[in-house]
Amino acid sequence: MTTTIYIPCDSTARALGAEAVAASFASEIARRQLDVTLVRNGSRGLFWLEPLIEVATPAGRVAYGPVAAKDVASLLQADVLNGGAHPLCLGKVEEIPYLKRQQRISLKRVGVTDPLSVADYLAHGGTRGLRRALTLTPLEIVKEVTDSGLRGRGGAAFPTGIKWNTVLHAADEKKYIVCNADEGDSGTFSDRMQMEGDPFGLIEGMAIAGLAVGARQGYIYVRSEYPHAIAMLNVAVERATAEGWLGGNLLGSGKAFYLQVRKAAGAYVCGEETALLESLEGRRGIVRAKPPLPAITGLFGKPTVINNVITLGSVPDILANGAAAYQAFGCGRSRGTLPFQLAGNIKYGGLVEVPFGLTLRELLYDFGGGSLSGRPLRAVQVGGPLGAYVPESQFDTVLDYEAFAAVGAVLGHGGIVAFDDTVDMMKQARYAMAFCAIESCGKCTPCRIGSTRGVEVIDRLAAGNPGQTALLRELCDTMQNGSLCAMGSMTPYPVLSALNHFPEDFSRRPR
């Protein structure tokens, strides 16, 4: 009987040596003439265990990890093909508590399937959402998404159904769906995992969006730092087109939706939706003034839905299983699940998709296991480079959009970056300003000049001039209130949170 072994092709797993493991398995299998199929799946997102391989046994998939190429011979010796015992054996993968306690919806197929296998996709619920959407009117599809309570996962948490409704009612022959796959926030990788591990899920979500608003063309704008995701998407688009999930005749319905993948070029601010549209049109990624909203005047001047990868990747499930099922998860006005990403100085870093409602502390300790260094966690930046640093005293904040806003923080795209007590918060504040100076699009003065002044003020503080804190606050106030987009207006979040929660780091005497 043929046994299937899964070895991730996810790029974090590759960074940890998955290619060498796969090569070693291939040669050992050939040498021993074993009846084995190697499948390259996505990652389960338990990165401290990667490369994590799985063997399909009659009792379920058994995991081993972290596996190095040199372990392969001993694994085969230990009869892993039947789930045999070995020091690296982790038991049944789905029973690993880190995974078992999650509620995977948008990333449910990631790590489970071969990301480019049409048969796997269909066997795991793929295209059910699209098939149902084809039986509904555009208004009904939009209503389903609205009723699900889904809010944008790119950072701003705007209700997706409302955005789609605006585009649906914009009277224009040409409309576009744009997927924001610029994922520039440090500490985030859920978009990458979706694109590398289940690209068909994203494609299906975009096709449904097209049907919902009457758009026939979509673009996925992917950051240049993700070459593997781009390669996977390109193959997936080709295969989806061959299957009729894209193209001129979606599943025989006569409706059309075409998709192209576009590579970005390393500008963080091009994750801002209007800068992204400028970039797609072939210009410098300079932010546009709003209004007009992209939903009215978007790509090439046409009504455009622009959504994050995870937003669009959540849509097939909402259509397949109904708004109520999705809506049932979550708390307050934050419905459904968010794939959190545990990163930085954390023992068990990885992807944790759970309904809104856990506390930050539960995520950091029950999932993350505390710091990697073993030292106390001191500060946690939530929501990317424009997100606040959260101190220990706020770790009990509930993970929902409103609860975070109430403590002056943001959830953003769900990135959680942990720092232990060796962190220098003045240095982190300086970095936030410096990053803004590097990445500012330059359109407005508070951001373009303010960020550079911010670095200078913090340098003077560091030189022992405590009077500069008032100036720093004033500068942050100007940036917050005078900037055109969140790049300039939110850079004060990390800066002021560092200053407010860790003032001791700003008043050290220079040595």
């Binding site: 520039g184 990788f189 410098r284 982190q428």
Partner: protein, 158 residues
């Protein structure tokens, strides 16, 4: 100085891509993928094909961190400098890299083997500090010792 091979390569790319909507970035990517950088003689050709001014094309090339106007070393090595990697020692790694290569960021080592670039997140933030070599190779949890090994390998390759 004009390189005729560059001109031919750019003309071919233009023929294939110039009618795409928003063609400029795809064209610039193809030029850089083919030639390793975007030579100055490409600018007027691209401008003419897309009905843009040279200043507009130049403005786009210089706006994006990813595009380069001069040839890189044999390898481009990017060291992540973003927060999640900072939390596990990327600052020290960057200093080590600069010392080992005897060059700053955005510069190339004396032997022409490696161009060193900062990058702000590679999406492997749970296993930092991270580096990327030429879009094809990734290394996680990079200690200074591991960096030296990787570098020795790179230098030994042609």
């Amino acid at each position: 100085m004009e390189n005729p091979n560059h001109i031919i390569a750019v003309e071919q790319i233009l023929a294939a891509k110039q009618s795409l909507p928003g063609a400029l970035l795809p064209i610039l990517h193809d030029v850089q993928d083919t030639l390793g950088f975007i030579p100055s003689e490409a600018v007027p050709l691209i401008a003419r094909a897309l009905n843009l001014s040279r200043a507009e094309v130049h403005g786009v090339i210089t706006y994006y961190h990813y595009f380069r106007q001069s040839p890189p070393g044999r390898h481009v090595l990017r060291v992540c400098q973003a927060e999640a990697c900072q939390a596990v020692g990327s600052d020290a790694l960057a200093k080590h890299a600069q010392a080992a290569l005897a060059c700053d960021f955005h510069a190339t080592s004396e032997d022409g083997a490696v161009t060193l670039e900062p990058v702000y997140c590679l999406g492997h933030c749970a296993v930092g500090p991270n580096i990327q070599i030429d879009e094809t190779t990734l290394h996680a949890r990079v200690t200074p010792e591991k960096f030296d090994q990787v570098l020795a390998e790179l230098r030994s390759k042609p």
